[in-house]
Symmetry: C2
Subunit: 312 residues, 2 copies
């Protein structure tokens, strides 16, 4: 069933984030945790905020991007709304449900074997073939950061009184956007990144004070964090604005997915659960305090999800 | 880890329901569907609305009830807040995660083999043993209907402009509450019940114009609808106020759980998915129109849930 053209012309501003509090989750974690779930955002992740802003802002009718899938889905949906088209470069090892989502909304999926051709190289090839297209980064574009800053505005307006806001970090587009949005609204709440141990380029960059890169795309189950380095636009914002980065192991990420599923009834994809995973990794750090965890998306494959929740 | 006593004295009014719209879900169903999710309500289902109202309203410090689990969990949590205690009669075939939840919040679980002793009989035995206790029905109590009417007030205030609101029916406590609440706020939106085919006592009652009973508790996967008949208090409200009841087969209920999971990122227990299941059972009935489905709860066992989503 094709979606293309069905909603062309509808404005569809981003849905406000969904705030969820579970006394049981808080009690089990030993702190007061509030979830800001972007799993019910259009196309199931925060990426719609940025994608819509890009599609609405640029003149081009064709947009090319590389995405592990959520930005691609969001871009395809935004293009459907604005009567534009997009091509999304995805790794062959990408999540099936995200590929299906891009095609569902009318986007073109371009699969690349990232072991032999980096995504950026494939995007450069496509850019050369389509000189009229806009090349969008899923994270490293001022328009992306501006689109994501809306979540920072929402969190500031909610006046949560948190000791920290923990945000999953891949390319840094969301964390940079949240920092920007909070500060624009005069909210100084510390923002902490959460990253898989095996994809800790942001943590290493922050410690070293200079941009670090991973040699290849790490096979973490948090597929949204399989990014080799932060962006040129996100890095300065994160270097100046992130209070810290917390790292989580793969088993802690799976455990966080289970905890959210069982004790908050929330379906999170592994990347979305990184904040809770970071709290599981450092259980004493925020004991008795109040923390907001941004759950970035919920688009997990059924099979993977069933395996994760059954293995608890 | 025990929860008992931890939140005693906190007021905890019910959380407003969570409104979710997914263009993909709407498109796939061929109508404009809005979800009113009670899965993020305290203790994970709408039952907290009623349980809190009962616990806050009665003088007794000990409350006895029969529950397939969600009312029991909600009651146990409400008792923890108000410094009271409860005993919950559950069928041996009950959902493990719900039994665990009752115990977690400090409630006592009393397991009964419903094949030999009906739940009501066991409740009567306990009532005789504890003359000072309040005997609460999970659905057939004016306090329960009044507590649930709050969701009707919320839906009326949201002014959704729906052609119908579809509500899962077990004992009828929620549907009676929603009808009551909507009408109190001057909202005449038709309310339709949704029921498993194999537990269709409400549909049969409505057709016959008199209260019908099932011979035994039907083994539907929608465990919240394993009720043999509507209540004395709920039946008159439903007879006068329900526009219709739609029935769904077991496979449609499982399919509805999958559809909500995959296309709305929502974790629903099978009973909560009855509204979507009813729409799958009658796909043309609301074609092109706008419908609100109340998703009553999200407390499914991991193993069952993993089986349901993996079998799609």
């Amino acid at each position: 069933m094709s979606f293309e053209g069905r909603e062309t012309g509808l404005p569809r501003p981003p849905r406000p984030t969904t705030m969820i509090a579970s006394p049981r989750l808080s009690h089990d974690l030993g702190l007061d945790v509030i979830l800001a779930a972007e799993t019910f955002q259009y196309t199931g992740s925060f990426k719609y905020r940025a994608a819509r802003h890009v599609v609405a802002s640029v003149q081009q009718a064709h947009i090319i991007t590389a995405s592990s899938g959520n930005f691609g889905q969001a871009l395809a949906y935004a293009c459907a709304l604005f009567g534009k088209r997009c091509t999304v470069v995805m790794p062959a090892a990408g999540v099936q449900t995200k590929m299906d989502g891009i095609r569902y909304y009318g986007g073109t999926v371009d699969i690349v074997d990232t072991a032999s051709v980096p995504r950026e190289e494939r995007v450069a090839q496509l850019a050369a073939q389509h000189p009229d297209a806009y090349i969008a980064s899923a994270y490293d574009d001022p328009l992306v950061i501006a689109g994501n800053s809306g979540l920072g505005h929402e969190l500031a307006a909610l006046n949560l009184g948190c000791d920290a806001i923990i945000v999953p970090v891949g390319g840094g587009g969301l964390s940079a956007g949240i920092i920007t949005g909070l500060r624009e609204y005069g909210d100084g709440t510390p923002v902490i990144g959460a990253e898989p141990e095996m994809a800790n380029d942001a943590a290493r960059s922050l410690r070293a004070g200079e941009l670090a890169s991973l040699a290849g795309e790490p096979p973490t189950i948090a597929d949204g964090a399989r990014v080799r380095r932060l962006g040129r636009h996100t890095w300065p914002i994160l270097r100046a604005g992130l209070a810290d980065i917390m790292e989580a192991g793969e088993e802690q990420i799976a455990q966080a997915v289970r905890v959210l599923f069982n004790h908050a009834n929330l379906k999170s994809e592994p990347t979305g659960a990184l904040g809770i995973a970071a709290l599981l990794a450092q259980p004493r750090r925020f004991a008795g305090r109040r923390v907001c965890c941004v759950v970035t998306g919920g688009n997990a494959d059924c099979d993977l999800f069933a395996r994760i929740i059954a293995s608890g």
